[in-house]
């Protein structure tokens, strides 16, 4: 079934399919980024594919590859019960020019998934109705899941307090805190004659 679907796409879009592979029932089509939307439209409307659900859409950053980003869409046909994974590669090694057509017109669930992909990786989805950040705040600069975003870089919205002399080591002795309830799990620990209790 799945191979038949791949063959169908290959026949329909001979120049759009760059490579395919099938492993353990996961069928993947790597597409030319320019054919992204037309293939998706065909998969949605063709009765042989009937991909009526976009499960997820995300991006992978392969920092050492050209094109750098891989946009991945997972499709499911609820009526025919098969799945297909679409991939397309965009962007140069500097992370610029990463743009691909939006699938929001076909599957409404692409809306937020594409906003997240834009927020985290900076891939632009052309034709998206409302391409804003969805997780990070508007003041945030850069795209945090890109490989070249520094792992320890934070962008606080309000300045951090600087209070000298505050240490997070326990500052108090046995008499402070735990006014009662210093729980003892073994009876011998309270027995002064038992050598194990001190």
């Amino acid at each position: 079934m799945a191979q038949a679907l791949i063959d169908l796409i290959k026949r329909q879009f001979p120049s759009a399919v760059l490579e395919t592979h099938s492993q353990h029932g996961d069928d993947t089509l790597v597409l030319n980024a320019l054919a992204w939307k037309s293939v998706a439209e065909f998969l949605f409307s063709s009765p042989d594919a009937a991909m009526n659900m976009l499960v997820d859409l995300t991006v992978v950053d392969y920092a050492d590859r050209e094109p750098r980003f891989e946009v991945v869409a997972h499709l499911l046909s609820l009526s025919l019960g098969h799945r297909l994974r679409l991939k397309a590669r965009v962007g140069n090694p500097e992370g610029e020019g990463a743009a691909i057509a939006s699938l929001t017109e076909i599957w409404a669930s692409a809306n937020w998934a594409e906003r997240e992909a834009f927020d985290m990786f900076g891939v632009t989805f052309i034709g998206h109705p409302d391409l804003r950040r969805i997780l990070m705040y508007p003041e945030f600069e850069g795209h945090p899941l890109r490989r070249d975003y520094p792992a320890d870089k934070i962008q606080p919205l309000i300045p951090y307090l600087e209070i000298p002399g505050i240490e997070k080591v326990a500052p108090f002795g046995r008499d402070e805190g735990m006014s009662f309830g210093r729980q003892v799990h073994a009876r011998w620990a309270e027995d002064p004659d038992d050598p194990r209790a001190n």
Partner: protein, 191 residues
């Protein structure tokens, strides 16, 4: 009651009559520590543990912190329960600033105390980066006993007027102290 007891003197006036003197501050502190109106700022999974500790099984209303107030103007104890993201930090700060004095802050769990493993672009590594914090309750999530210890620690601090931040210590565990495993401990208890 410790501080109140220490500062209270009962004076016999003869004929079976007596009167007591105390300090106004310790009287006020005594009243404050047993009438903590709490504002639960619950953002993450620690909220489940917070519900557990506020429900009848652990029941922290025994300590006078019974009434949750969902208006910061009416509360004196801010419970920060869960991870605080950079995006949420201004909201937390604003809530804190809206609370009327005197006010205290309790960081519930590792994320609120120091960020825990959320050492990343999105999260604040501890609420004390944003607002002053009185008591830290460690744990991921903390056990209800740890939360009760934290509440009692805060009450002690309110009574003594100590605003230095404190951490709830782990309870004394003789098995850990002596490097015994659980099986050894069970055997020891049986013997």
């Amino acid at each position: 009651m410790g501080e109140l007891k220490r500062s209270t003197q009962v004076i016999e006036a003869g004929e079976g009559a007596a009167f007591a003197t105390t300090k106004l501050e310790s009287m006020l502190a005594w009243a404050q520590k047993y009438s903590l109106f709490m504002y639960p700022f619950v953002t993450a999974c620690c909220g489940m543990e917070f519900m557990s500790v506020s429900s009848p099984r652990y029941d922290f209303s025994r300590f006078g912190s019974e009434a949750p107030r969902f208006s910061p103007r009416q509360s004196d104890l801010l419970w920060v329960v869960g991870t605080i993201t950079q995006r949420q930090a201004p909201i937390l700060k604003r809530i804190y600033e809206q609370m009327a004095e005197p006010k205290w802050v309790l960081a519930f769990g590792t994320c609120a105390s120091c960020g825990g493993f959320y050492d990343n672009y999105a999260c604040v590594a501890g609420v004390d980066k944003i607002i002053p914090c009185d008591v830290y309750v460690p744990g991921c999530p903390p056990r209800p006993e740890g939360v009760l210890d934290g509440l009692m620690l805060l009450q002690d601090k309110i009574q003594s007027g100590d605003r230095r931040p404190s951490i709830v210590k782990p309870r004394h565990d003789p098995a850990v102290d002596q490097g015994l495993g659980l099986i050894d401990l069970k055997r020891a208890v049986k013997a």
